[in-house]
C-alpha cells in the first residue's frame, strides 16, 4: 500500500471542504478522481502535498505518517505535485527548470559547489524529448504556451522521480492530440510510480482509467470503481448532468 488516508477533514471558514472517510492507493496504480467543481479534489491534493494542513485525520505514505510535515519534507519523501494552474519557474529556461527538479542532493552547499552529477544532462534531454520540449529547451519558461507549460510542469514532477505523482487537470488547455499524448505518458509513468489524476475531460479519463476511478462530491467519496461502472452509475450521471437525485443529498 503506497498511500492510506483515514478520516481526513478540513474546513475553510466553517465550510467543510473535505471529509474523506477512507482512501487508499496501491503502488504503481493510476487513479483518476472526478467530481464537480468544489468537490474538494484539489483540496485533497493540497493536503497530500502539505500545502494545506488538515483539521483531523491521518495520512500514511509508504508506511510513514506525513501529517505535520512541511512541503519540503513531504516532497523529499517522494510526493510530487502538478497544479491545476501550471506552476513552473517563469524566469528560468526550460532546461534550468528541469535541472532544478532532477533528483539529486538539494542542500545549499551541494547546489553552490558541486558539479552536476553525470547523466543528468542526458536524463533532461530524454525527458525533453518525451514531452516535446527539445526545441524549446533554452527558451524562458515564462514564454511557453499554456500547453507547453503543462508539459513542462509534468516533466518537472517526473524528473523529481517521486513515488507518488499528484496530477491536477493535466489535459486542460490541451488539444485532443496533446491530451492523448499526455495520457500515454501518464500510463507509462504508472508502471513505476503511483499516480493520482484529477480530470474533467471524460475522453481523457476513459483513456487513462485502467483501474479505479474515484468520484468526489461535496468533499465526500461518492463511489469508487472501474470506469465503465462509474460511467453508468446513476448518481454519477446525475452529478455530472445535473439530473435531480435525492440520493445525492443523503450523502
Amino acid at each position: 500500500m503506497l498511500l492510506e488516508v483515514n478520516e481526513l477533514a478540513v474546513s475553510f471558514g466553517g465550510v467543510q471542504a473535505l471529509n474523506l472517510q477512507h482512501f487508499q492507493l496501491e503502488d504503481r496504480e493510476l487513479r483518476v478522481i472526478i467530481g464537480p467543481n468544489g468537490a474538494g479534489k484539489s483540496t485533497f491534493m493540497d493536503i497530500l502535498c502539505g500545502k494545506t494542513k488538515p483539521d483531523t485525520g491521518s495520512i500514511v505514505f509508504n508506511g510513514k505518517p506525513t501529517r505535520g510535515l512541511t512541503e519540503v519534507q513531504i516532497a523529499e519523501m517522494g510526493i510530487g505535485r502538478k497544479f491545476q494552474k501550471p506552476s513552473v519557474f517563469p524566469g528560468l529556461s526550460v532546461y534550468e527548470n528541469m535541472l532544478l527538479a532532477t533528483r539529486m542532493k538539494k542542500d545549499v552547499f551541494t547546489s553552490l559547489f558541486s558539479r552536476m552529477p553525470a547523466g543528468v544532462q542526458e536524463k533532461i534531454e530524454a525527458m525533453a524529448e518525451r514531452v516535446g520540449l527539445t526545441s524549446a529547451l533554452h527558451k524562458q519558461a515564462g514564454a511557453l504556451s499554456h500547453g507547453q507549460k503543462q508539459w513542462l510542469e509534468i516533466a518537472i514532477v517526473v524528473l523529481q522521480d517521486p513515488r507518488l505523482l499528484l496530477i491536477d487537470e493535466p489535459a486542460a488547455g490541451m488539444s485532443d492530440r496533446e491530451a492523448e499524448k499526455t495520457g500515454e505518458l501518464l500510463l507509462e509513468l504508472s508502471k513505476q510510480h503511483g499516480v493520482i489524476v484529477i480530470e474533467h475531460d471524460m475522453h481523457f479519463v476513459k483513456q487513462i482509467a485502467t483501474k479505479l476511478v474515484s468520484v468526489l462530491v461535496n468533499g465526500k467519496l461518492l463511489m469508487e470503481g472501474p470506469f465503465e461502472e462509474v460511467k453508468n452509475d446513476q448518481r454519477v450521471i446525475d452529478c455530472y448532468l445535473g439530473r435531480v437525485n435525492a440520493q445525492l443529498e443523503k450523502l
Binding site: E71, R81, F89, L100, V108
Partner: protein, 361 residues
C-alpha cells in the same frame, strides 16, 4: 559570439578604473580626491551586489542592508580607532574619556589585531543576518511584511547605535583614524592603494556573485523569487536558501563597510538610518535589478549624481534624485541597464539579456 560585447564592456571597465585612473593620478591629471571618491563608490557597488543578490535575484526586499554595511564599517572602525589611540599613547578612545569610561569595553578587545577585525567585519554582519533571517524566514514573513520588519529593525539598531551607552561613539561615531597596517591613511599613496584594493574586491565580489548566480544555487534563488511554493514542492528547503542568500548579502555589505571606513575616515550611525537602506535599494532599482552589472552601475551612477549635484545644485539635488527615483520606477522597470538595452536593440546591438526579451515575445 553573443557574449562578446558584454565581455568587452567588462574589460573596458576594469581597464579604465584599474589602469587609466591610477596612471592619471600618478601623472597628476586625476586628483587624489576623485580617486578616493571612486574608491568609496566601489564600496557602495559591493554592497549593491549583495542587495541585488537578495532582492534582485531572490526577491526579498531587505531594508536593513545599510545596517550590515555599518556593522562591517564599525568593526573596521574600531580597529582603526584603537590603532590611532595607541599611536597617540592614550589608553582609551577620546569619546570614552568624556563618557566617563575607564576600561575598554569587552567587545572592543578583539579589534586590537588587524586580522580579527577583518574576519569579524565579515562575520558579525553574517551572524546577525543569520539570526534575524532565521526568525523572519522561519515564520514565513515575506513581501511587504519583510520590508517593514527589516526597516523597523534598522531603525531600532540605528537608535541603539546613536546612544552613547553602547560605547560605539554615539552620534559622532568613530573617527580620527590615523593608520592602517602602519600606512598613514592621509597619504595619497595609501589612498591609491585602498582604491586599488577596493576595486580588486569589487571584481572579486562580482566574480563570486556571478558564480553564485550562475550556479544551481543561483537558479534556486531565482526560482524562489518567481514561484516560491514550487521550490518547496521540488524538495528544496526554501528557508536554507533564503537564509544563505541573506547571509551572503549581509557579508557583502560588511565587506563594503569595512573597505569604506578607512577611505572615508568616519563611520557614524547616520550611515544606517532608514534613509540609507532605501537609498541602497534605489541604487539597485535604478541600475537594473536582477542583473549584477545593473547593481554596480546603479551604485556608481547614483553616487556620482549625488556627489555632483550636491556641489552644483546645492538646493535642488533632492528634486533631481527624487525625480530619478520616480521616473525609474514608472518608466524603466529594468533600470538603466534595461534602458541601455532598449537603445542598444534599436541600433542593432544584441546583448546577453536581450535574448530573453526577444524570447518572451
Amino acid at each position: 559570439m553573443q557574449l562578446k560585447p558584454a565581455k568587452l564592456i567588462n574589460i573596458l571597465f576594469i581597464l579604465f578604473f584599474a589602469v587609466v585612473l591610477p596612471v592619471g593620478n600618478m601623472l597628476g591629471l586625476v586628483s587624489v580626491n576623485s580617486i578616493s571618491l571612486w574608491g568609496r563608490y566601489f564600496c557602495f557597488a559591493i554592497a549593491a551586489l549583495g542587495i541585488d543578490l537578495i532582492w534582485g535575484y531572490t526577491g526579498i526586499m531587505s531594508m536593513c542592508q545599510a545596517f550590515f554595511f555599518c556593522l562591517g564599517g564599525y568593526c573596521m572602525g574600531m580597529h582603526l580607532l584603537l590603532k590611532a589611540t595607541a599611536l597617540q599613547q592614550q589608553l582609551l578612545p577620546e569619546f570614552m574619556t568624556w563618557n566617563d569610561i575607564t576600561t575598554l569595553p569587552w567587545f572592543w578587545e578583539p579589534f586590537h589585531g588587524f586580522v580579527p577585525a577583518l574576519v569579524l567585519s565579515l562575520l558579525v554582519p553574517a551572524a546577525v543576518a543569520f539570526v534575524i533571517g532565521y526568525f523572519i524566514f522561519r515564520s514565513r514573513i515575506k513581501g511587504v511584511y519583510m520590508a517593514i520588519i527589516t526597516q523597523a529593525l534598522a531603525l531600532s539598531m540605528y537608535l541603539l547605535f546613536l546612544r552613547n551607552e553602547t560605547n560605539l561613539g554615539g552620534t559622532n561615531g568613530l573617527t580620527n583614524f590615523k593608520t592602517l597596517l602602519g600606512f598613514e591613511l592621509h597619504k595619497p599613496g595609501t589612498k591609491l592603494g585602498l582604491y586599488l584594493v577596493t576595486l580588486a574586491m569589487l571584481c572579486v565580489a562580482y566574480g563570486c556573485c556571478y558564480k553564485i548566480v550562475h550556479s544551481k544555487f543561483g537558479k534556486v534563488l531565482q526560482a524562489i523569487r518567481d514561484s516560491e511554493p514550487r521550490v518547496g514542492y521540488t524538495a528544496y528547503r526554501v528557508l536554507h536558501y533564503k537564509l544563505a542568500a541573506f547571509v551572503v548579502a549581509a557579508a557583502l555589505g560588511g565587506l563594503a563597510g569595512m573597505l569604506y571606513v578607512p577611505q572615508t575616515g568616519i563611520i557614524t550611525p547616520g550611515r544606517m538610518d532608514v534613509k540609507a537602506s532605501v537609498e541602497m535599494l534605489m541604487w539597485v532599482a535604478l541600475g537594473g535589478r536582477g542583473n549584477l552589472k545593473g547593481a554596480v552601475i546603479g551604485a556608481l551612477l547614483v553616487n556620482c549624481v549625488y556627489s555632483y549635484c550636491t556641489s552644483v545644485f546645492p538646493q535642488g539635488w533632492l528634486f533631481i534624485l527624487g525625480m530619478l527615483y520616480i521616473l525609474t520606477v514608472l518608466y524603466f522597470d529594468k533600470g538603466f541597464l534595461g534602458l541601455f538595452e532598449k537603445i542598444g536593440s534599436k541600433i542593432g546591438i544584441k546583448t546577453n539579456s536581450e535574448r530573453y526579451a526577444t524570447g518572451s515575445k
